[in-house]
Symmetry: C2
């Protein structure tokens, strides 16, 4: 049975910032990744769509990279939000992050047809910059390991 997160940081982003193809709740064609706390770690669970193939039977690497990317920015936002005294669901608007760098090591072919679980450990680099180390599991087998450096959204994103 697929686990479902009750409270995700992406549910709290203001509407203007909810259009991300990976994790924006308002992007009808997007993946709708949702990231929440699991103890002191963060988690995003996602079942790839039928078309998200590398080869028949295996998940497309770009999808795994996308999962790690949005899981990373979501995990950084959760962490700074908690540092500011807030949790998803308490009504406060969370900080919003963008990805500075994304690294993915593909350890095993990722099987298609099962939920993927990204588990993140967050490290503060400085108050506006976080490093998120992520492991992606399928059927409890570690398939990929990733690292995202996420920074608070810079003003260059606002026109």
């Amino acid at each position: 049975m697929e686990e479902i997160l009750v409270k995700a940081i992406q549910d709290e982003y203001p509407d203007d910032f909810a259009w991300c193809y990976g994790c924006g709740r308002l992007n009808e064609e997007g993946h709708h990744f949702r990231t929440g706390w699991q103890g002191k770690q963060t988690v995003t669970i996602y079942t790839p769509e039928q078309a998200h193939l590398a080869l028949p039977g295996f998940v497309y690497g770009g999808l795994v990279a996308s999962l790690i990317d949005c899981h990373g920015t979501g995990s950084a936002a959760l962490t700074l939000h908690r540092k500011n005294g807030h949790e998803p669901g308490d009504g406060a608007e969370p900080p919003r992050f963008v990805t500075a760098s994304l690294n993915v090591n593909f350890l095993k072919p990722t099987p298609h047809g099962v939920p993927l679980k990204a588990i993140g450990t967050v490290h503060e680099i400085h108050p506006k910059k976080f490093k998120v180390e992520t492991e992606v599991y399928a059927n409890d087998v570690l398939c990929a390991r990733g690292e995202v450096v996420a920074v608070v959204m810079p003003s260059s994103f606002f026109k």
Copy 2:
């Protein structure tokens, strides 16, 4: 006017290996990235779809990562194919690569609504392993830099 590649390595993959969400010509819902030679460098040109947003006006980072990923495996395949005496279009079946690692540095917000151009430089690490350094341009502005290590598809992908 958008440039179009006449001959791409992905056009030559056997049908069994043409299902990749990023670059498989038979995956109806996929991106259909196509990679060819441009002198001694490789090139993939792709215009993101309307939904591929990070924020309104900017391209989703996971899409840029996907472009760098498939551009990398395609560039490695082009290189080994040429080393074996072949060019896309000569009827020979090209080698097929998978991604071992993917690194992306996002240098500037990538504007949405224009073609993206990935330009690759390929280095042989050993006969079955290549490193592809890629720059992604939008309107001739360098927006992201990536590196893919691609290896000849291992037997673990064949059931």
